[in-house]
Symmetry: C2
């Protein structure tokens, strides 16, 4: 999938992933009302609203972007019904040619890590048949448990030609509490990055590894150092837009080939209709058009990352 993701990014000329992280409060009232009318004011109604909202955004943006990144927590909070909406969203985005990055941040050890990988990017064997419980192409993985935790994910990804992004330096203000701790002068996130580079060698695509990293847009100077430590690992960059990162901050995350990073925006795209300048032009009924315009503007802004 990393080769396809790279191909997708080149074809769309947009190293952009749209974060499908729906909250009920983001969804235009007309969608919520219709969903409640059909399924009731309950978990099923909420899940239907999320799915319809996502579908609108996917329909309005799929020709512009290479990938979407649904945040599973936003679905898991609606229980079984939410997980159905997660699966449905992934399936639909896939049918539109998009790569699916499941933002699941799972991490455990041995057969438990393998079970997560099987569930999200693999196949589970039952009798003589195998089934794909969820259908992501990439997942995000937490490295705190070390190689025992990460390698089972890599094993399944190799079998399935799927990929992953391992948390290295996250975009949040307190990410430094543990990640920035200095070990003989080297911050922990660099130690993790070195491991990511090493793990990545075990599952290479054509130019980049199937094993990538997550590095927040909010830390561009660290991005520069990490880009060098992990030259062959794609970097998934959260924190653009709502969390404060801008196009100019993103230059350090890319390689000379203009590749090597994919930048996520969630609220900035999916809630565009609620915020200036979009709220003036687009009402809730045109929320999907507002998302499309926000993607176009993000694409333009990202060009600043490549201005020397």
């Amino acid at each position: 999938m990393i080769n396809e993701l790279v191909k997708n990014i080149k074809a769309k000329d947009a190293p952009i992933v749209v974060g499908l992280d729906p909250m009920l409060s983001y969804i235009p009232e007309f969608i919520v009302d219709e969903a409640f009318a059909a399924y009731g004011k309950n978990l099923a109604g909420a899940a239907e609203a999320i799915w319809q909202y996502n579908k609108g955004i996917i329909d309005a943006t799929y020709d512009l972007i290479p990938a979407v990144k649904p945040q599973v927590a936003m679905y898991e909070q609606f229980g079984i019904e939410g997980m159905k909406a997660f699966r449905r969203t992934c399936n639909y985005a896939k049918s539109k040619g998009l790569a699916i990055i499941g933002d699941i941040k799972r991490g455990d050890i041995g057969s438990t890590s393998e079970a997560y990988a099987i569930g999200h990017v693999g196949k589970v064997t039952i009798g003589d048949h195998s089934f794909s419980p969820f259908v992501e192409d990439f997942i995000t993985v937490n490295p705190y448990l070390g190689s025992d935790g990460v390698k089972p994910f890599i094993k399944v990804c190799k079998e399935e030609k799927k990929g992953m992004f391992i948390l290295v330096k996250t975009s949040n203000p307190s990410s430094g509490e543990f990640q920035d701790q200095l070990v003989n002068g080297t911050p922990l996130y660099e130690i993790v990055a070195k491991k990511v580079a090493e793990w990545g060698e075990d599952h290479m695509g054509d130019d980049y590894s199937y094993v990538g990293a997550v590095v927040g847009a909010t830390y561009p100077e660290m991005g520069a150092a990490l880009r060098k430590i992990m030259p062959k690992n794609f970097i998934l960059v959260p924190g653009y837009g709502a969390q404060g990162g801008t196009g100019k901050d993103l230059a350090p995350f890319f390689n000379e080939d203009g590749l090597g990073a994919i930048v996520n925006s969630s609220r900035g795209i999916i809630c565009a209709y609620k915020k200036a300048p979009y709220s003036e032009k687009f009402g809730p009924e045109n929320y999907a058009d507002a998302s499309r315009q926000a993607v176009l503007d993000m694409k333009e802004d990202l060009k600043n990352a490549f201005v020397k």
Copy 2:
């Protein structure tokens, strides 16, 4: 819930939690066959087998133990149907008076962490009603993202009087890759432990905090140091039995009051019928009785933790 967990541990005289981490290969054939006959050789059939297997173990052990710890990955690998079996297992164990520790190892930031907490130990509000998507009493949490990641879990736990165990030092061989890195002479896991102690002050029960820690039985000397750093935080101890820890290794995890830790065994209990000495006495049809005997033996072995 931490007060109730302590009460439960005292009443059962057993600081034991049974890990409900079912793999299809663990489940006696007669259960799998019946489930497949009823639902087909598919995800629903597999989920039914898991549920029936769990029910047997809960029925045979609930009077001996204070809590169960279902590992969500083992359910998630069977997709939506697996998650239904997870919920059903939690609900049933709860109806038997057991505390539920959801081993979910989630970790994210802000509203995303909050969404996980709402989904697993909280309530989601839809219109004028609120729903409990999943029904755990405690969850396990990954600390890699720092306070921004953990505090939203604590917020929801305070509202719901629920609790959590934060990964500090995990039981696996490679846990040291990142967790043991020395920061000015102090291992990272101790830095995390200090934070757990600090976070825990914000959500105290009678004698112990609602915020606990995970420390592997396989590292007893570290357990001793961590016990001192976190005197008011309950320690969930994995790695007993199948992973190599024994009763004698567990002394350092407990406080003078004989409390402060709860020891998990998964395969050692739920697969007892497959292993000596139980396999000689119990066949697959008596797998639940074998689990009961294994709990009784574990209880006996744990007494060694308290022999001075």
